[in-house]
């Protein structure tokens, strides 16, 4: 970028530009090398997981390590269900995470919208409460929530864990969406709707909600991933037999020593536990990029 046009510059300024572009070249090389190293750090574990899931346990344990499967096999995927009820766990996780993220996003959108747009009494107090909640470390809430869910009789039910996830995802979702409404969703839209004949609620339902789908999708993914990745809450609220989420299932299998003995099955289960999140992301990425508000204003 800065290199172009150097030859037209004479004298001191020219030399300064040149030397700075030489320094820049060094910087670029250094940055490139470090980036490559970081990419290795980022990708090797994922690669290790993937390739191991196509190997036999023996081959994974081999010394020196075998980085590329000699005879790639799907055996691990075929066999894993016998030791870990992966599909059942996966289903549990999908149900809980999906319901929690959809409900949390809807509730958060409603709250974020009025908190961003209207100055009503106690708005600041409500916002502060929500902010505070986001900042309470989960561990300090574990025991009371555990007893609370227990007292509702919802221990080891989808409902119990779903409720917990909604509660914990809400604050961050509200904050993100409030920012979204303030920056990306012009107030003239609902004003136009109100003049056109909408009440507050129908303006929200018919105009704001469809227009903010990209923002909601982003927040939805976020809450989905939070719920999907969670181990702490699931290990307490939904940990009996076939009701386990995939994370708890994998964690328990590992802590029972299965991760070493049946490492190929275990790695296959890990892949299965990772894939839905990736699909989720790729699926919604289209919306994130879409930029639906383009053209409504200016």
């Amino acid at each position: 970028m800065s290199v172009s046009g150097v030859e037209h510059v004479n004298g001191k300024a020219g030399r300064r530009l040149l030397s700075s572009s030489r320094r820049d070249a060094l910087t670029r090389i250094a940055v490139g090398v470090i980036t490559a190293l970081i990419l290795i750090y980022i990708l090797v574990p994922v690669f290790w997981m993937l390739k191991s899931s196509f190997q036999s346990a023996l081959e994974i344990r081999a010394n020196p390590p075998i980085w590329f499967p000699g005879e790639p096999t799907l055996k691990a995927y075929e066999d894993m269900d016998r030791l870990i009820p992966v599909w059942r766990y996966l289903w549990n996780s999908v149900v809980v995470s999906l319901i929690a993220s959809v409900i949390a996003t809807l509730i958060a959108t409603a709250a974020a919208y009025v908190l961003a747009r209207f100055r009503f009494p106690f708005a600041t107090l409500i916002l502060t409460l929500i902010l505070v909640t986001q900042l309470i470390p989960p561990i300090t809430r574990v025991f009371p929530v555990y007893t609370f869910i227990q007292s509702l009789g919802l221990l080891n039910t989808y409902t119990g864990l779903t409720l917990a996830y909604i509660g914990f995802s809400l604050p961050f979702a509200v904050l993100l969406l409030r920012g979204y409404f303030e920056t990306s969703c012009p107030p003239e839209l609902e004003e136009a709707a109100m003049v056109d004949g909408c009440s507050h609620f129908s303006a929200f339902w018919r105009i704001i909600l469809p227009v903010s789908l990209p923002g909601m999708a982003a927040v939805g993914i976020f809450t989905f991933l939070n719920a999907w990745n969670d181990f702490l809450w699931a290990s307490l609220l939904l940990n009996q037999g076939s009701m386990k989420t995939i994370q708890v299932g994998i964690g328990d299998f590992a802590s029972e020593g299965g991760g070493v003995q049946y490492v190929n099955l275990f790695m296959a289960a890990c892949v299965v536990a990772t894939v839905p999140a990736v699909i989720m992301f790729l699926f919604v990425q289209r919306w994130l990029v879409g930029g639906l508000t383009a053209g409504s204003v200016k």
């Binding site: 509660g167 009440s199 181990f231």
Partner: protein, 300 residues
């Protein structure tokens, strides 16, 4: 404000507020209350839950194991946060440049984001397994070490530092990096391109542009990120719990794990509440700054 507008506003925030209070504010207050009670789950039906004042806190502070976890948590937080932010700053710069294949690199950097902490721990446990670690094999192969590093089991400690602590921190950084990169990238994209062009006209090098344009303008974003990371760091649980269970010899134990073990292994909800109360105080200090910043932004 019109009455129907008011009704609309309260109707819209009500569900979020109810959830927040029931699953956020109330449990926090309840936890604080428990920390002043005797609450031993094994004896609760005979003794009840009598008020004991600061006894739980005193007991926790007289437990050398707990004091060690406080130090561990501090070290872990500082290492993980500074590591993830410096790597994040570098990567977000790289991802913000224009070059061919950028979108592929972006996707690759995001990959660990989709790996759940449990799975991340599981993979790394294998990669860091003393005897079969491919990392050990490569280091040995290149002649860099002459005996296997015991990544997760070495008991030797230099003050609060130890090999297992560093290993666990590296896994945490690995798992948390994509979020930080994306967060910073969003911040970078809000910096107008013309500022860089102006700096270039003034003869600034890449490093100078970073130092005099990027860093100052990224300041607010970095501040928010720093506080979020410190707070999650102080309450960190999953990776350490799964990979080492806090061991060996308590070297990677954090306050959150201590609290969890007290509650669900020893069934001492009171001790657990006192320990988590201390986490709450620590995060509360950070939290006050964070909220002040957020509300100041609100005034516009």
């Amino acid at each position: 404000m019109r009455r129907e507008t008011l009704i609309f506003c309260y109707a819209m925030v009500a569900p979020a507020l109810i959830f927040t209070i029931l699953l956020g504010i109330y449990p926090m207050l309840a936890s604080i209350r428990i920390s002043f009670l005797e609450y031993d789950l094994l004896r609760v039906h005979t003794t009840g839950t009598p008020w004991v004042g600061f006894e739980n806190y005193l007991r926790v502070f007289n437990d050398p194991k707990f004091l060690q976890t406080v130090v561990n948590t501090g070290i872990f937080t500082v290492l993980a946060v500074s590591g993830v932010i410096s790597l994040g700053l570098l990567l977000s710069q790289v991802l913000n440049e224009d070059y061919r294949g950028r979108s592929v690199v972006r996707l690759l950097v995001c990959v660990p984001w989709f790996v759940p902490p449990v799975v991340a721990s599981a993979i790394w446990m294998w990669l860091l397994n003393t005897d079969r670690s491919p990392i050990n094999y490569l280091l040995m192969h290149w002649g860099l070490i002459d005996s296997n590093i015991r990544f997760l089991t070495d008991r030797e400690a230099w003050g609060p530092f130890s090999v297992p602590m560093l290993s666990v921190t590296a896994v945490r950084i690995w798992n948390g990096l994509p979020f930080v990169v994306i967060f910073l990238l969003a911040g970078l994209q809000s910096i107008p391109r013309s500022l860089y062009e102006a700096a270039e006209m003034d003869g600034a090098s890449i490093l100078q542009k970073f130092r005099y344009v990027t860093l100052p303008l990224l300041g607010p974003v970095l501040g928010v990120l720093l506080m979020l990371l410190v707070m999650t760091g102080l309450g960190h649980f999953e990776i350490n719990y799964i990979m080492t269970g806090g061991g060996p010899q308590n070297l990677t134990n954090t306050m959150a794990i201590y609290s969890y073990q007290q509650a669900f292994q020893n069934w001492r909800f009171d001790t657990a509440a006192a320990a988590s109360g201390l986490i709450l105080i620590l995060t509360g200090i950070v939290c006050i700054y964070y909220i002040r910043g957020q509300l100041k932004k609100d005034v516009r």
